[in-house]
Symmetry: C2
């Protein structure tokens, strides 16, 4: 069942994007290779023709998610639009969309437990996101402000997601307070 090389490239991309979403939604151990390839419309056997291991896919998926997010932020206006970005970050829509949202909030506490390749991919992506939030000027003040805003937003979303199913009132309070700052 060979397919054209265009189709092959598209299949790889579909696996990567499905993985990026599913890993953020369920965590590295919450999805298996079969789930991912199935979500991409394939079976699991051909997976190793595209990626050397599940971990290698995780590394690419994590970096892909962060780099995409950085690009979106840059296109939206970068540092100048940071407070609007944070506002969206602290929205119920983002909190309820782990699979499509920020990989730092979705996978942050998993990363220190992953292998070095995954950690390196994450670090690269996060550095890119921070640069995007700091803006092209690279001046110290805007970088500091960007890092503060990101840390604040990430911490808030992590807490809000953790409690939202069981204490929606607390989740809303946290988001509300986070938004007051931006």
């Amino acid at each position: 069942v060979k397919v054209s090389s265009d189709q092959r490239a598209e299949n790889r991309q579909r696996i990567l994007e499905a993985a990026s979403r599913l890993f953020r939604e369920h965590g590295p151990d919450g999805v298996n290779v079969a789930d991912i390839t199935k979500a991409a419309g394939l079976t699991h056997g051909g997976f190793y023709g595209h990626f050397t291991s599940k971990d290698a896919l995780l590394a690419e998926a994590v970096e892909h998610a962060l780099v995409s997010q950085a690009e979106v932020l840059v296109k939206a206006g970068g540092h100048a639009e940071l407070s609007r970005f944070v506002d969206g970050y602290l929205s119920r829509a983002h909190v309820d969309n782990r699979g499509g949202g920020c990989a730092v909030a979705a996978l942050g506490s998993d990363i220190p437990r992953q292998n070095p390749d995954v950690q390196a991919a994450f670090a690269k992506g996060l550095a890119r996101l921070i640069d995007a939030a700091a803006g092209p000027s690279g001046c110290n003040e805007s970088r500091t402000a960007a890092i503060c805003a990101l840390a604040q937003a990430i911490g808030t979303v992590v807490m809000a997601r953790a409690v939202e199913d069981v204490d929606a009132k607390l989740a809303d309070e946290l988001l509300e307070i986070g938004r007051q700052l931006s």
Copy 2:
């Protein structure tokens, strides 16, 4: 090999404390029941005499970690000493000690994927921690300030831990910036 009921209670506590540490260090899927009971000086077979399941233990362990942390904060002075607390939170010592540190930073992004009992235990513990940080007055301003400080600190530590093995400079920069605020 029956043991005295005091010994039994102590064994249970040892399992709980080992679990609390190991879960924070390696995540819910990064430790197995045998690892935990072994760390507590027991074998895995007797585990189910103390806890109904690995998940039930996770729930207790998470709550135990958060409630202990809240107690420490209260004893240290609560809201009045919040900035000193945040300073310690943002220390290299805390970043390098996932197993003994804050359960929100260590397990935050795992929680939304856990079963309702675990989420409930986490929410209860986090509410306690927030109350401890807000102080007994319960006034809105100190509560808001406490939540801001916690969110900031948690986001910073999550990022610092994620990148520290691979980009120690970035990790230090993040912690430094976080400390400037407290």
